[in-house]
């Protein structure tokens, strides 16, 4: 189907201004899904991209579909569903449908919102498999707890005074952490619906502060043993001991306010407002700094589902999604188009 000239230009413009905020890996580890600021989700085949005879075409999405009118901020994969958070409702698609290249919205959750502000966006999603519960945080400053069995909101934690950036579930204990624009990380006991168990305020610790006005916390990660928590944003990325609730280590990445942080093996990987992916030792020493395409990195995922496709993918303010086979250097880029 031939595109008109105008359409062509528009497409190129869109491509130029594209940001990919969210990525996730399918449960079988074969596909990478990425959602951009135009509300489009692209499906990439990892196998094609990594094949020995890969070329430009195999690094383009197998297909794309429109998920939202606005931007997509969070993608999450569960065993059967792809859950997507953006402006408005939280939507889910069945993996099976996606594999058939015939995506249909399986269900959606409508985030309660006040009449004044229109649709509320969802920035962070977390899924607990044990009790089939979804946690979502976003523009209404509330952390909602959804029972996916019934599709209802069980309750909401409302302590945050500003919108929520990130949600991280603990691995063993029934707790969830949320980082917010108000400069706090609040840890909640998922069994109760009341006050937070603990509040971390990196902006009140001298060693973390970069600029006193930049308080927001945009990323949170909890270590596999639930002893440590990493958070950062306006303040530097810092490692907190959860029992003493004090910061022990600061990861100093100059000129980079982190957008994303995650644990991988015994290392910490972070990225943010610089075209680099940082690999850290937990003691705060830099292990690797690898350059990437996007000037701002919004999402880093590692395909842990399939050993054969075990790669690190990073996306950000660019239509290119960088793929790192060996985590040390950028092997190639996937093209979101």
């Amino acid at each position: 189907m031939a595109m008109s000239y105008e359409e062509q230009i528009l497409k190129e413009k869109k491509q130029l201004h594209m940001s990919v905020f969210a990525q996730c890996i399918s449960p079988d580890g074969k596909y990478l899904l990425a959602g951009n600021n135009y509300g489009t989700i692209a499906v990439f085949s990892m196998r094609n991209a990594l094949a020995s005879d890969a070329n430009e075409n195999s690094r383009k999405p197998i297909f794309t579909f429109k998920a939202f009118d606005g931007a997509i901020f969070a993608l999450l994969s569960t065993e059967n569903f792809l859950i997507c958070g953006g402006s408005g409702d939280i939507k889910a698609w069945k993996w099976k449908d996606i594999q058939q290249k015939a995506p249909r919205v399986a269900w959606s959750l409508s985030v309660p919102h006040s009449a004044n502000f229109g649709a509320v966006e969802t920035n962070g999603l977390a899924y607990s498999r044990q009790d089939n519960t979804l946690y979502s945080g976003g523009g209404d400053s509330e952390l909602h707890v959804w029972d996916l069995e019934s599709g209802t909101c069980k309750h909401s934690y409302t302590d945050h005074t500003d919108y929520i950036h990130a949600v991280a579930l603990f691995n063993t204990s029934a707790q969830v952490a949320s980082g917010s624009e108000d400069g706090t990380v609040r840890i909640w006991d998922t069994r109760t619906s009341g006050e937070p168990v603990a509040i971390l305020e990196p902006s009140k610790h001298e060693e973390c502060i970069n600029n006193p006005r930049d308080k927001w916390i945009s990323c949170v990660a909890v270590d596999p043993a639930d002893d440590w928590l990493i958070c950062g944003g306006g303040p530097s990325l810092s490692l907190w001991h959860l029992r003493s609730l004090s910061p022990t280590t600061v990861f100093e990445a100059p000129k980079c306010q982190p957008h994303v942080v995650l644990y991988h093996d015994d290392a910490v990987i972070s990225a943010g407002t610089s075209p680099n992916i940082y690999h850290w030792h937990v003691n705060g020493d830099s292990k690797l700094t690898t350059p990437c395409t996007a000037m701002d990195v919004y999402s880093v995922v590692i395909n842990t589902e399939s050993e054969a496709n075990k790669v690190l993918c990073s996306s950000g303010a660019s239509s290119k999604i960088d793929v790192y086979t060996n985590f040390g250097y950028k092997a190639f880029s996937l093209d979101f188009c």
């Binding site: 085949s45 690797l288 350059p291 190639f332």
Partner: protein
């Protein structure tokens, strides 16, 4: 001489030596061998041969007995001591080593080679070196051929290093003179798109139900591979193998693209410095610092592994990228290649020139590589400094090769050695003999030859010795014929010896040599005799006539001899010179005369008389007056020559320096008569063009 008294029994001596070898080995000293050698009869050389053989037999015994390394080394050590004591030939230790290396397992070889390495100073001593270098080289090459290139890397390296230490710096035997590349060293890797684990699994994948799954292959536990970089990376090896490819345009494009991609990957993927990580920790915990440092160094030095060849499986690629040593190899390869491309190499062809663009790229990339190499742990800085040092030395080697590998040793002593050498070359053996005549001892190089020669040092005397006169006296020879010629004997003509053709032939030859009548008769008899027997008969009667004056025949004999020699003055000259005035003294008067006439040319004479440059300069510094200098020189020469400075040497020196006029004026003033003869002879010499005679001429004039 002792040799003639008793014959040397090789087998017995060898047996005795074997027994004393056993003893010596126990005591670790050669004193037993010495005693044994003293007890044996025979020449030194014969004894040596026996001991050499005994050593080799002993090694055979050890090898068969499966002895350990220390047994071998102690034996070789003993043999070196024996060489130093002059008991066996210098080649023996090397023969022993060769035998050992030929017959023991590689693991034992390694230990024994340790010994060889430790004793490199011994092997370099001039005795051992001259006789053993070829043995050692052959031994090492044999060993290298035996070793596996991939298994015994370290041992191979040790051998190479040993050879480098052993041979002089400018030894060319192991040199790649033409700067050829090792083009056979092809690094193969997975180039084809169809190979590899991915494709082979595809058929299974097709069975899958899912509509999209047909694209997928199950890859088991394989990790993802960045095939693009993989290919780019290994493609580089081909350029390192054959650098001349870089000069073609397309290949250069490939090369630069690949290099950029690989270096980018390396740059991005900084390697973690385990050691420095530890150090940082240490800074935090100051206690135990020292203890830790020790441990760390141990750990660092411990696990150095080297590979002969790259393993190029794509499965390993990921691990290789995070291997610091591997990276170092590649960086160093880059540096070597760039060094080559930039260098002036004699064997490059005219079209092998870098464009500006290429030079720029090389410069930038080289800087990048050096920076990366510095970053690569552990001890990146030191390592880089080392590599840069080695590469800068390589430039010297290259320059050396461009100049055609001049010897380093020669340069040093060129001025000193050049002259005496060329002088020595001019001398023929005859001259050598003449010069050495005074000393009565001639060194022919090998002791055995010298011994033989000095049985009769003078060649001419030896020829004149009585036992070398094979010609019978005329009278003796013809005795039979004379008896038969006597009519009283009543012998039939056909039985006369003169009719025997053999006898006749010998007789005529003898007559030609010995009898004054030979030529006279042929022409004088009238009528001329037609048959040989007839002629002989005539001669026999002639000789028989002379017989009665038996006593007089001898003087006559002498006379004839004199006659012949007189005919040939040339022959007579040297003989008489040798006899009568081998070392006639030079008078003080003559010295002064020579000194006054010689003038500036005294330095030439000094060289001819065997003065070294140092001595000449010493004389020069003594006084500025030329006459004084000459006198001084002659005095020194006199002292050197001893009590009787031989005139002939001086004259020979003068002639050699082209100062014939002085010779004439100084040594011949009083002998004007002889001078005439001399000139005549000179003419004849020129006609004959015989150098030896010319040199011996002056000797005769003195007589």
């Amino acid at each position: 001489m002792a040799t003639s008294e008793s014959r040397f029994d090789f087998e017995a001596s060898r047996g005795k030596y074997l027994i004393s070898l056993d003893e010596s080995r126990k005591k670790q000293s050669v004193s037993c061998l010495k005693k044994c050698a003293d007890s044996l009869e025979g020449s030194d050389a014969e004894k040596k041969t026996a001991l050499d053989q005994a050593y080799r037999n002993y090694v055979k015994k050890l090898v068969v007995g499966g002895s350990s390394c220390s047994d071998f080394t102690s034996l070789v050590h003993l043999s070196t001591e024996a060489v130093e004591a002059g008991l066996c030939s210098p080649a023996t230790p090397f023969l022993l080593l060769t035998d050992i290396f030929d017959s023991v397992t590689i693991s034992v070889c390694k230990d024994v080679f340790q010994f060889v390495e430790d004793r490199v100073a011994t092997w370099k001593q001039s005795d051992f070196y001259s006789s053993g270098k070829n043995y050692l080289l052959r031994m090492c090459n044999d060993l290298l051929r035996r070793l596996s290139k991939s298994q015994d890397m370290v041992f191979c390296g040790r051998i190479q290093l040993f050879l480098a230490r052993f041979f002089p710096l400018d030894e060319k035997s192991g040199l790649n003179l033409m700067s050829n590349f090792h083009l056979d060293n092809v690094t193969s890797y997975n180039r084809t798109k169809l190979e590899g684990p991915l494709r082979t699994r595809v058929p299974q994948a097709i069975d899958k139900q899912d509509s999209m799954d047909y694209e997928e292959g199950e890859m088991g536990s394989a990790t993802p591979v960045d095939y693009k970089l993989y290919r780019q990376f290994w493609a580089l090896q081909d350029f390192f193998r054959a650098p001349l490819q870089c000069y073609t345009k397309e290949k250069w494009k490939d090369f630069s693209n690949n290099a950029i991609a690989v270096l980018e990957a390396f740059h991005s993927m900084k390697l973690e410095d385990v050691a420095s990580g530890k150090k940082k920790k240490k800074r935090r915990s100051h206690h135990r610092q020292q203890q830790k440092q020790g441990e760390e160094e141990e750990a660092d030095s411990g696990d150095q592994v080297s590979f002969a060849k790259y393993l190029t499986s794509e499965k390993l690629f990921d691990l290789q990228l995070s291997d610091a040593m591997f990276r170092r190899y590649v960086y160093v390869q880059f540096l070597i290649l760039f060094q080559y491309l930039n260098q002036q190499v004699k064997f490059k062809q005219a079209h092998h020139v870098l464009t500006d663009e290429m030079s720029l790229f090389i410069k930038e990339t080289k800087d990048k590589v050096v920076a990366l190499l510095k970053e690569t742990p552990p001890y990146g800085d030191q390592f880089t400094a080392g590599i840069e040092h080695i590469l800068s030395r390589e430039e010297h080697w290259n320059a050396w090769k461009n100049e055609g590998c001049p010897s380093y040793v020669k340069e040093k002593g060129k001025t000193e050695q050049a002259r005496p050498k060329s002088r020595a070359r001019k001398r023929t053996l005859g001259e050598e003999l003449n010069l050495a005549g005074a000393a009565k001892k001639i060194d022919l190089g090998s002791p055995e030859l010298t011994k033989l020669w000095n049985v009769y040092p003078s060649n001419l005397e030896a020829c004149a010795a009585e036992d070398r006169i094979f010609l019978p006296q005329v009278e003796e020879f013809f005795q039979d014929a004379i008896d038969q010629a006597d009519p009283e004997a009543m012998i039939e003509p056909e039985y006369k010896v003169v009719n025997n053709s053999n006898y006749a032939w010998q007789a005529i030859r003898l007559l030609a040599k010995r009898s004054p009548h030979f030529f006279q008769t042929v022409t004088a008899t009238n009528p001329p005799l037609k048959t040989v027997p007839g002629y002989l008969e005539y001669m026999v009667t002639k000789i028989a006539k002379e017989l009665p004056q038996n006593e007089e025949s001898k003087p006559e004999e002498l006379k004839t001899e004199e006659e012949t020699t007189e005919n040939d003055e040339l022959l007579k000259g040297p003989e008489e010179g040798m006899d009568k005035s081998p070392s006639a003294a030079v008078t003080e008067e003559q010295f002064t005369l020579v000194a006054s006439k010689i003038g500036d040319s005294w330095q030439t004479l000094a060289v001819e008389l065997g003065f070294s440059d140092d001595e000449v300069t010493a004389i020069l510094s003594e006084t500025s007056d030329i006459k004084e200098q000459t006198k001084l020189m002659l005095q020194q020469w006199q002292d050197k020559e001893g009590a009787e400075p031989s005139r002939e040497t001086l004259i020979a020196g003068l002639m050699e320096s082209g100062l014939d006029d002085i010779v004439e004026s100084v040594f011949m003033e009083k002998q004007k008569k002889v001078e005439l003869v001399f000139e005549e002879k000179q003419k004849r010499v020129v006609e004959n063009g015989e150098g030896i005679v010319a040199e011996s001429e002056p000797m005769e004039m003195d007589s």
